[in-house]
Symmetry: C2
Subunit: 333 residues, 2 copies
């Protein structure tokens, strides 16, 4: 990314501000994704790591550490850990979802095979744990290993909950905390912790990451029903076709009459979809204000993220994180 054009979007501002650290993170990632013995590992990993995600999660770790005044070297390890856990999760997700595309490119399970995705994912998990051990900070180890368990638990819960009409907003929130927010909050919390920040600051940054992650996922789920394909790279209705019960549908199901319930049962629970079903689903979402209500929740979580860090000491990064929370929900404004 050229610095001349940067500093427009909040994640680009952060990237510019944290450029040295992020370069060190990228170097460490490239170093640690290597394997002396198994050349397939760096092939598969490079395909994904270099596909150019925004590196939002490792940036959050660096931001939290720097915001808390950290001057040591280990936030780099934690940021790389967080990106490795994220990458491992993507590899396994694509196997579980039988996905063919990720970030506009064919998925690793398609280019190689499911076996490679499963095992290289395991390798990256293990490399993540090696990395997180290096700073020698037990509290950080607790935070990151707990996050890994919460992520996996959320993914398993989603397996059974996503096609079950009894899934309500509290179960949805558990799934979202697992699959998305747990790594955001671990990213910010571990950054604060390695900096030796006082407990209220650590908590504030945990709360920020948690709320930001939830807002991020709700926006994603909302855009699946009302997004602009060109802007999001996703097709409207993917979640519907894949029978994934997300917040908009959960809200519509909660207000459904008997006929509507039968429609959701057929299309989501039984997966018997016909032409015109997506249009009917969209009409039900509009009828019950499900998209408007979902949008309101995303905004509320973004506001919660901002409030969480409002009392932290003044710092340029604090403002960038506040802007980032606005930016995450700006896509639905």
């Amino acid at each position: 990314m050229s610095l001349d054009h940067a500093a427009t979007k909040p994640h680009e501002q952060l990237a510019a501000h944290l450029a040295d650290g992020m370069e060190a993170v990228n170097t460490l990632i490239r170093e640690r994704m290597a394997s002396k013995h198994a050349p397939r590992i760096p092939q598969v990993t490079a395909h994904l790591v270099e596909a150019g995600g925004k590196r939002l999660r490792p940036m959050l770790t660096l931001a939290a550490a720097q915001l808390c005044g950290y001057t040591g070297p280990y936030h780099i390890h934690l940021a790389a850990t967080v990106e490795f856990i994220h990458t491992a999760t993507l590899l396994h997700d694509d196997v579980v979802d039988e996905s063919a595309q990720r970030r506009g490119r064919p998925t690793a399970n398609l280019l190689w095979d499911n076996k490679s995705s499963v095992l290289v994912g395991d390798y990256l998990f293990a490399r993540a744990f090696q990395l997180m051990v290096e700073p020698g900070n037990l509290r950080v180890l607790e935070i990151l290993s707990n996050a890994a368990a919460t992520i996996a638990e959320g993914e398993v819960l989603q397996l059974t909950a996503a096609q079950d009409l009894r899934t309500d907003e509290s179960i949805y929130l558990q799934v979202v905390r697992g699959k998305t927010a747990a790594l955001f909050s671990a990213a910010t919390e571990s950054g604060a912790e390695i900096a030796g920040a006082p407990q209220p600051h650590v908590q504030a940054l945990f709360d920020y990451g948690d709320a930001l992650g939830i807002a991020f996922q709700i926006v994603d789920d909302l855009l699946d029903y009302q997004g602009d394909t060109k802007a999001t790279g996703k097709n409207v209705g993917d979640d519907f076709r894949e029978r994934k019960l997300t917040l908009p549908v959960i809200k519509a199901v909660a207000k459904a009459d008997a006929d509507e319930r039968a429609f959701w049962t057929r299309t989501i629970e039984k997966g018997k979809q016909e032409d015109g079903d997506l249009d009917h689903a969209l009409s039900l979402l509009h009828k019950h204000n499900a998209l408007i209500d979902t949008r309101a929740e995303a905004l509320a979580w973004a506001a919660k993220a901002k409030t969480a860090i409002a009392t932290l000491p003044e710092h340029p990064i604090r403002q960038m994180l506040i802007d980032l929370a606005d930016y995450v929900v700006a896509r639905i404004n």
Copy 2:
């Protein structure tokens, strides 16, 4: 297991000697495989954990700790860690190998689906890391996280090496160290380390676990070609049919003439197998003494395991570990 009938086979002697510890390990495993939110997790895990493996790996951790005079509580956590890593690996292996049976029962990927096996395996990996953090011993964390990386690396290496006739004995050894020996040696090394044993004792127990694991895997690969189906529960020739290049075939390939090489290329590399191929493969293994030579290597690794701990102080467990090394290769005598 009733103690009355125990004390005949070395692993039963160990189990009897370590009965209290193993009960604590089993309790901890049951406790930690639970999930508040995702009921599928304990279902899948219980299916495998309670299928009644020998719990050889956690027993090795307890044995090493006790042999080194440990009296604290944390060898239990490390033993449960090792069993969780093992169970996670089995879940993922069965997906990768598309297996239908494990320990005489249908595999989890068959009873539920591949998705559940991948994600519950991830959950168990994460739970293993949470468990290993609890003792607060950084050296132990290094040992176990390095082992997890070596295991995954070995599995990925096997993906590409198993059907490649260029795979020689040194690559085979790397695969075996990864897929089997790394967890055996981490089990014994971490047990010694948590006990605060002097470095030469830690090294001796690492070497024992490493050599025992290699012997164990070579025996397994040998029995695939000359085992008694009733005794082993495996069918002769499974590895051949699954096109897995193991030590017996590697030895036969090394001595193959042009015709024989063409045979191995067709059956293993290209996987074009016909009736009578297994018999021909067996005749080539016999012709080149491949089974006899493989057996000799297994015995040599078992001897190496015994030598490694020969200089440790006299202790009843030391003798049991020596007997265990003999027992592991007794199946091929």
